[in-house]
């Protein structure tokens, strides 16, 4: 059974149809790309998947569980994590706190322990601290652990955001333009990292990206959208040669 099964997803905003009859199935361990020109509805798909919007029509089944109508935090807790196009860190919190926040819903202690700093609190804190520092190490951020996250350099912020998403222990990771603002060398590193992520954390990854080099280099399967419709789907080589894709990006007659 597919990890994620989206059927006939349609999203209206007032009279505007942002996404129309979108279907996708993700198998465990896949890396799939979603591309298309600006305004094609890619981010809307992400937002529907993560519960920011409730779809007008369609079903989304994640790991055998219908997640339509669930709130964002419930979906995250069910195992879908995401990053944002424009980085959204908890910029006034420290780097390590960003990770710890993502661990919050698994935290072993409750409100009472928090008020009283019981033994359970200290155990929980120790646990999350170990967990967070280990995760930061994997992303080479442990040296910045106590820095305010908003003061990190751009690349480190990107890495932190991914690390934070991973701290929720997801099975599906959704990346919204992870390579935005990166130079070719950084993008290469990112591609390597995406593969490494998949293997290390046993993930399925869905990503939106504009840098074709990244998409083509990292994705095993690509879906192309234009004006809310899926226009084409397949392996990178197939997409590269499809005239409809060219047309969507460059206009008719190009």
């Amino acid at each position: 059974m597919a990890l994620l099964d989206v059927q006939h997803l349609t999203q209206f905003f007032g009279g505007l149809r942002a996404v129309s009859d979108f279907n996708i199935q993700l198998e465990h361990g896949e890396i799939v790309g979603l591309i298309g020109p600006n305004g094609a509805g890619k981010t809307t798909v992400f937002n529907v998947l993560t519960g920011v919007y409730t779809p007008t029509k369609g079903t989304i089944v994640f790991d055998g569980q219908n997640i339509v109508g669930k709130k964002t935090y419930q979906i995250t807790q069910a195992g879908i994590a995401r990053t944002f196009q424009n980085i959204r860190l908890f910029s006034q919190s420290s780097v390590i706190d960003n990770i710890k926040i993502a661990y919050h819903f698994r935290m072993s202690y409750g409100n009472t322990d928090a008020f009283l700093h019981t033994r359970k609190y200290w155990q929980g804190e120790q646990l999350v601290d170990d967990y967070a520092i280990d995760l930061l190490r994997l992303f080479h951020l442990e040296g910045h652990a106590e820095d305010v996250s908003g003061s990190l350099p751009y690349g480190a912020q990107r890495r932190l955001e991914i690390a934070r998403a991973l701290a929720t222990k997801p099975r599906l990771l959704i990346l919204d333009e992870p390579a935005a603002g990166m130079n070719p060398a950084e993008a290469d590193e990112l591609m390597e990292m995406i593969h490494w992520l998949r293997d290390k954390f046993d993930l399925t990854i869905l990503l939106i990206e504009h840098q074709m080099r990244v998409v083509m280099g990292v994705c095993e399967r690509i879906k192309v959208m234009d004006f809310g419709e899926t226009i084409c789907e397949g392996v990178p080589e197939y997409i590269r040669n499809d005239p409809r894709v060219c047309e969507a990006y460059l206009g008719k007659g190009a």
Binding site: T43, N47, V52, F84
Partner: protein, 301 residues
């Protein structure tokens, strides 16, 4: 029926004064995202200017109302300008909340400074009769009571509001104001002088409050103390939020709703009238979280 109409008229009259104050709140908010708590005290200064200037104006110009209202508007406009320069400008690019607390401080300062013995004193003042109150005969026997003061309140408010709409929509500086309200960085890149725009907002808004102060004095004939602005100011501020803060027609709509609902709530139960107005407000905001005419803009993800 007669009572219903009369309460409606009562509500419209007080709503007109709220509207003039609310416009200033909303204009300043639209441009600098600051709840200028001191606005209520500018209204108060406007009212006191009427008290001090009316006799002088009557001697110089013969008639008192129009010269007084213009002079009061000029003075409160200047006060707003100075206030922005001294108190708010240093905080402009810093935390919004610091600016808010500063506004509270400026408000306290104005109130207590004006209450000093050699300024306005805390004493009651009889406001000069700028026009002689008369009732206007209404045909029919509904027992309606409409005075020339009421017509003056509504008339002056409407004229000033129309002027403001013209100013904001048709003049260059007005258009610049709208651009700045919409997107400050972009407006600045387009070569709009933000300083000038902000100063203008801090002149025009307080000038309207000054006019409101004169109408207030003329209508009620009494200035209780330099603290008189607090409550009309609060009501007007609530009205501005009710209409959708930052939205000019919204402020006017909110002010009239506030005035009318207050009149009706009072006539239903005068003991609870004050509270009912707040309950209505909570109700409206829960249904329309961004006010009546405010656009609900969820954060873009």
């Amino acid at each position: 029926m007669g009572q219903f109409l009369q309460q409606l008229i009562n509500g419209i009259q007080i709503g007109s004064i709220y509207a003039l104050i609310a416009l200033g709140y909303t204009m300043v908010y639209g441009i600098v995202r600051l709840i200028n708590f001191a606005h209520a005290d500018i209204f108060m200064v406007g009212a006191y200017m009427g008290f001090f200037l009316a006799p002088v104006m009557a001697r110089v110009f013969g008639g008192a109302f129009i010269p007084t209202i213009i002079a009061a508007m000029l003075i409160t406009g200047l006060l707003g300008f100075i206030m922005e320069k001294l108190a708010y400008r240093p905080l402009r690019y810093k935390s919004r909340l610091s600016a808010l607390i500063t506004a509270l401080g400026v408000s306290l300062f104005l109130e207590n400074f004006c209450a000093l013995p050699f300024v306005f004193t805390p004493a009651f003042r009889k406001f000069p009769d700028l026009i002689v109150a008369r009732n206007i005969p209404i045909p029919g026997n509904l027992g309606l009571n409409i005075s020339n003061v009421l017509l003056l309140d509504v008339g002056v408010s409407v004229i000033l509001m129309v002027l403001l709409f013209w100013f904001v929509n048709k003049t260059l500086i007005g258009k610049q104001m709208r651009a700045v309200a919409f997107d400050k960085p972009t407006a600045s890149l387009m070569g709009i002088n933000i300083d000038v725009v902000i100063s203008t907002a801090f002149i025009v808004g307080p000038a309207l409050a000054g006019a409101g102060g004169i109408l207030y004095g003329t209508t009620y004939g009494m200035l209780a103390s330099p603290f008189l602005g607090i409550w009309p100011g609060l009501k007007a501020f609530i009205a501005a939020v009710l209409g959708g803060i930052g939205n000019i027609p919204g402020a006017v709509l909110g002010a009239y709703i506030m005035g009318i609902s207050e009149a009706f709530a009072t006539s239903v139960n005068s003991n609870l009238g004050y509270g009912i107005a707040f309950a209505i407000l909570i109700g409206i905001l829960l249904v329309r979280p961004s006010g009546l005419l405010g656009k609900f803009m969820p954060e873009k993800v």
